[in-house]
């Protein structure tokens, strides 16, 4: 008889352990962290999500994919850590006085990863293909403004229909790919400091050093990006030393790391917000959306989710954009639950109930949703959380637009406010919240056509103000970003956009 009770105790203990460990945590980690000896140094990085189905540079939708392939693809120019554009595949660029003509001189002897030399034809092909196939509507819009693009010896001359002072950022996102190569979706070929070596879905992607790189060659011979669907499994692997590096850690994870890795803090360069489906009730009513804005205490949110790190946002641009960032909008909706209730009453939406769909793999978004629900409850708004898988989020919420509200963060695919703002223009394909405002469209149009930099900055700020005034979404924060790096390596630097530059990382010794 006592045997049975032991068995019972044991089984209940095992069961609860199994529950506590959760999926993924029991996986064995075969790969050891890379060795940092010079010359053949290998870095093992943990990715918190899988790469996109298509790795074609013009088809990438997920920020997590873009930040890895930042090391593989390059445009004629590329951004540096300060947000300036430096020459990459082009060796020099010149902009005419009137801002209409851009002349890029092709760098000599740049080789694609497949060994072919970059020619003018490849550049023209890339611009054509990008304009025709890109999923990034802001890039598409900017490229459609090109009046003429011609080859002139070793120069590429681009003539714009109207001046656009942020056109270089568009150029940087037109990555140069070989014209004769058709397998970009599965085996990317670019000109960047790293070659794409292999990729097995749900397992890992491997980058190797491009020994023919025209610039400073990377110190790392190989970067292995191991894919984790579960944030805890990633963290466990990092803490055990199986990974050399992980980015986008939460403040708690960064704080409880016990293996002596160096943690650096930056911002994620994301616009985290409660995105509202403006096309359907209840959020087609501006007053209801404003009520939600008043019901959120952003300072409290930052304290609760990030111990006060991170930055508050008031519109669709984050602070790294410096001059474009409309700082005065951050507190456009001070915390005022009474006002929220009043607005709801005015709109006839008392007892508002809605569902927040949130991708379950992003702990920070789930946490934010939890806090929001509590704040809304204080204002008499009943929000319910529904956790969905990432793929289901992409399919149903983002592409299918089947949602009332969702917490997510948007990054800038390239360094222009367009990357964040063009999305909300009425007829934009990625305008998944169905935002429609003629004033906003006009402001964006203004931003594109103004030749002077100050005018353009003003127009972008005006656009942000319209988003804020109409409460398009409940803008929340740019999350703090913590990067942990094995002290055997050094050289990590934050970019003002969602990118991780492996070429700057080198062994510490």
């Amino acid at each position: 008889m006592s045997r049975r009770i032991y068995a019972l105790l044991l089984s209940s203990a095992i069961l609860s352990c199994a529950l506590g460990a959760g999926p993924g945590a029991t996986m064995t980690i075969a790969d050891e962290a890379g060795s940092a000896s010079s010359g053949d140094a290998e870095l093992v990085v943990g990715l918190p999500q899988d790469l996109d189905n298509s790795l074609d540079p013009y088809q990438i939708t997920a920020a997590g994919t873009r930040e890895v392939l930042f090391n593989v693809y390059e445009g004629l120019v590329k951004p540096d850590t300060d947000g300036n554009f430096v020459d990459a595949v082009a060796s020099a660029h010149e902009i005419s006085e009137d801002g209409l003509t851009y002349t890029f001189t092709l760098r000599k002897g740049v080789l694609f990863h497949n060994g072919d030399e970059v020619t003018i034809d490849d550049v023209l092909y890339s611009f054509d293909t990008c304009a025709a196939t890109t999923t990034n509507s802001a890039v598409e819009a900017a490229l459609s403004d090109i009046q003429d693009i011609t080859a002139d010896g070793e120069d590429v001359v681009i003539t714009l229909a109207s001046a656009n002072s942020s056109f270089l950022s568009t150029v940087s996102s037109v990555t140069i790919v070989p014209a004769s190569y058709k397998d970009q979706a599965t085996a990317p070929v670019g000109t960047g400091p790293f070659k794409f070596d292999s990729y097995s879905p749900q397992d890992k992607a491997v980058l190797v050093r491009n020994d023919d790189y025209y610039g400073d060659k990377p110190a790392l011979a190989k970067v292995t990006c191991r894919i984790f669907d579960d944030a805890n499994a990633l963290y466990t692997a990092l803490d055990s030393g199986a990974l050399d590096m992980a980015f986008h850690l939460t403040v708690d994870q960064a704080g409880s790391l016990s293996n002596g890795y160096e943690v650096s803090e930056g911002e994620m360069n994301l616009v985290q917000a409660l995105y509202l489906n403006n096309a359907n009730p209840p959020f087609n009513d501006e007053r209801v959306r404003q009520a939600l804005c008043y019901a959120v205490d952003k300072d409290m949110l930052l304290d609760l989710t990030e111990d006060g790190h991170g930055a508050k946002l008031g519109s669709s641009v984050y602070p790294s954009f410096r001059k474009y960032f409309a700082e005065d909008l951050v507190d456009a909706y001070p915390y005022d639950p009474a006002k929220a209730a009043e607005l709801l009453q005015e709109a006839g939406a008392e007892g508002l109930t809605f569902t927040i769909k949130v991708p379950s793999n992003y702990t920070q978004h789930v946490d934010t949703a939890n806090v929001l629900v509590e704040m809304f409850a204080a204002a008499g708004i009943n929000a319910v959380i529904e956790k969905v898988e990432w793929n289901s989020w992409l399919e149903n919420v983002y592409k299918g637009r089947d949602f009332e509200a969702t917490v997510i963060g948007f990054d800038a695919a390239y360094l222009s406010p367009d990357a964040l703002l063009q999305r909300w223009v009425s007829d934009n394909g990625s305008n998944f919240i169905g935002y429609s405002s003629p004033e906003y469209d006009a402001a964006m149009e203004n931003a594109h056509t103004s030749a002077k930099d100050e005018e353009q900055v003003e127009a972008y700020k005006e656009a942000q103000k319209i988003l804020s005034d109409t409460a398009a979404n409940v803008y929340l924060q740019d999350l703090a970003d913590f990067v942990a790096l094995n002290p055997e390596f050094t050289g990590y630097e934050f970019y003002p956009l969602y990118a991780v530059d492996f070429s700057r990382i080198h062994p510490a010794s």
């Binding site: 209940s12 609860s16 529950l19 944030a231 609760l304 379950s360 946490d367 509590e374 956790k387």
Partner: protein, 268 residues
């Protein structure tokens, strides 16, 4: 049914009584709000103020365990009631009358039990959506076959016994024979089945919530608390221990009690 007291019964009884008092209290009152967040008291270790510490939002873990255990308890009870009542009805009819209906129902039971219960529950809940109601329905249906089988076997072995034949000859109605004469004789088998079923139901609910398709936040559930506490295993172990400990204690209490009841009623 007279129960001789024994160590299992006493320990299990006391533990169950304490837990029941705490859980039932939790349905009406908790020391702190289970949802109110407090940035100043994030991840506090256990103290007199918060006896199980606080979580990453500064919520009192003990209050949330009370709420979560209450939810688990109610769900488990409802699941067992659905499974048990349906099981008794199906099992008694099949066992007593036999025939083609018996054959078909038993094959259906075989088919359901052939799949892992968790997998079926996952499929049903992901189709119908989360929420307490759907979990109760999904688990309740899945628990019917095991009860049906146990009850059927008992009825099949009882139906030809002399006292039943005598009752039938005296003209006692079928429902009365089924539920007044035979049912009490199945209790010695039924009670352990119920307690095992109850424990399984608690674990099943916790697992579903752990996987994120059961009880949705911010409502507390032991399973989802365990899931959330994973991120803080190193920095705030009390969070996971509070939720995990509650599950272990609930199951232990009921198992001890059932073991005690069995020992007390059977001759060893």
């Amino acid at each position: 049914m007279k129960i001789r007291k024994n160590a299992y019964f006493i320990t299990g009884g006391i533990l169950s009584a304490i837990l029941t008092v705490i859980i039932v209290t939790g349905l009406f009152w908790t020391p702190y709000s289970t949802t109110a967040m407090n940035a100043q008291e994030k991840l506090q270790p256990p103290s007199w103020k918060h006896i199980l510490g606080t979580d990453n939002f500064g919520r009192d873990v003990f209050s949330r365990v009370m709420e979560g255990a209450g939810t688990s308890l109610i769900i488990a009870l409802l699941v067992v009631v659905i499974g048990c009542v349906c099981g008794i009805v199906f099992g008694s009819l099949c066992g007593y009358f036999g025939g083609a209906a018996d054959l078909i129902l038993m094959r259906i039971c075989d088919a359901i039990t052939a799949f892992p219960a968790m997998l079926l529950a996952l499929v049903i809940v992901s189709l119908t959506g989360g929420g307490a109601g759907n979990i109760v329905l999904a688990l309740g249906i899945l628990f019917i076959p095991s009860f049906t089988r146990v009850v059927r076997t008992e009825y099949a072995s009882c139906r030809d016994l002399n006292y039943i034949n005598a009752a039938r000859l005296m003209g006692v109605s079928n429902p009365r024979i089924l539920y007044a004469h035979i049912l009490p004789n199945t209790l010695s088998v039924l009670i352990p089945t119920i307690t095992i079923g109850f424990n399984n139901a608690i674990l099943a609910e916790a697992s579903l919530s752990f996987l994120g398709i059961g009880i949705q936040p911010p409502q507390a559930s032991l399973g989802s608390m365990l899931k959330d506490s994973q991120n803080y295993l190193a920095s705030a172990p009390w969070y996971a221990l509070g939720a995990g400990g509650a599950i272990v204690l609930m199951i232990l209490a009921v198992s001890l009690l059932s073991e005690g009841v069995q020992q007390g009623t059977c001759r060893i």
